[in-house]
């Protein structure tokens, strides 16, 4: 099995707050992440692609095409945005990195097979800080 992983970065802000709880409960649950004006991170996104290595090119996937696709579908929509307000995917959805990982996977999935044929989306990893990493794998 051959799996190629590419790493991207984007910077965005968020606030963790759910309308389903009181202000006190939100503060208790999310701590500093609940501060009213939001805060930002330098996110690192890893996208893994699994598939056969093409005999002619020696590649699982064209890096140029993968970069263009990830930038168009994900990075351009998130980079330097306040996710709660600027990104429609988070309307009614708390932008925890768990939910961010799911949003990224859905965005990548949307026209994946049209773009990459037999190369499969294998994993999405979102690193919020150096100390926490969120992974969707065996997709």
């Amino acid at each position: 099995m051959t799996r190629l992983t590419r790493r991207y970065t984007f910077s965005a802000s968020h606030r963790l707050h759910t309308a389903a709880m009181t202000d006190e409960e939100n503060a208790e649950l999310y701590g500093k992440c609940n501060n009213p004006f939001g805060h930002g991170h330098n996110y690192v996104l890893e996208v893994s692609v699994r598939g056969p290595v093409d005999a002619e090119s020696g590649r699982v996937v064209s890096i140029g095409e993968l970069d263009a696709y990830v930038k168009r579908e994900v990075i351009c929509r998130l980079d330097h945005k306040y996710m709660n307000h600027d990104v429609p995917d988070f309307a009614g959805l708390v932008p925890t990195s768990e939910n961010l990982s799911v949003v990224v996977e859905k965005r990548l999935r949307r026209s994946w097979s049209d773009s990459f044929g037999t190369a499969l989306l294998d994993a999405v990893r979102v690193q919020e800080t150096k100390r926490n990493l969120f992974e969707l794998r065996d997709l």
């Binding site: 099995m1 051959t2 799996r3 190629l4 992983t5 590419r6 790493r7 991207y8 893994s48 290595v53 002619e56 090119s57 020696g58 590649r59 699982v60 064209s62 890096i63 140029g64």
Partner: protein, 140 residues
């Protein structure tokens, strides 16, 4: 209980990704700057992961010093400070993409790492911090 153990090694080498059966424009579209005629280099990082069961006497899956010696002999010594396309087989005929380098590292190491309680599990090859390939043999 099976565990994974990983040893890391580094080598610096140059390569060029170019398929002579394709046109200049096709090579450029496929490989970008990696198709440039004189080649270029990377500090490759290879992570070699064994799967196994710790020996009840030694408490080890495998002697990491021995693993280091095998990686150096089979991979680092032949590839370090070399131009892969010209100096390291099979890259005279196989395009040295990270996919193909990862598979070649596997092919060199796997026969050397067949033991009763440990075997090669995966090879991870970093071409840069932003690009790496995992290979764990043919099949899923």
């Amino acid at each position: 209980m099976e565990m994974l153990i990983t040893r890391k090694a580094e080598f610096s080498a140059s390569h060029r990704c170019y398929n002579p059966q394709l046109s200049e424009a096709e090579n450029r579209a496929l490989y970008g700057e990696s198709a440039d005629s004189r080649g270029h280099g990377h500090n490759y990082v290879v992570e070699v992961t064994l799967v196994g069961v710790p020996d009840p006497v030694t408490g080890m899956i495998f002697d990491l010093k021995r693993l280091k010696d095998i990686i150096n002999r089979e991979v680092v010594d032949p590839m370090d400070h070399r131009y892969l396309n010209y100096e390291v087989k099979p890259f005279d005929t196989v395009i040295p993409t990270p996919e193909n380098i990862a598979r070649e590292v596997w092919k060199r190491l796997e026969p050397q790492l067949r033991f009763q309680n440990a075997k090669l599990h995966a090879v991870r090859l970093y071409e840069t911090e932003d690009l790496y390939v995992d290979y764990s043999g043919e099949g899923e």
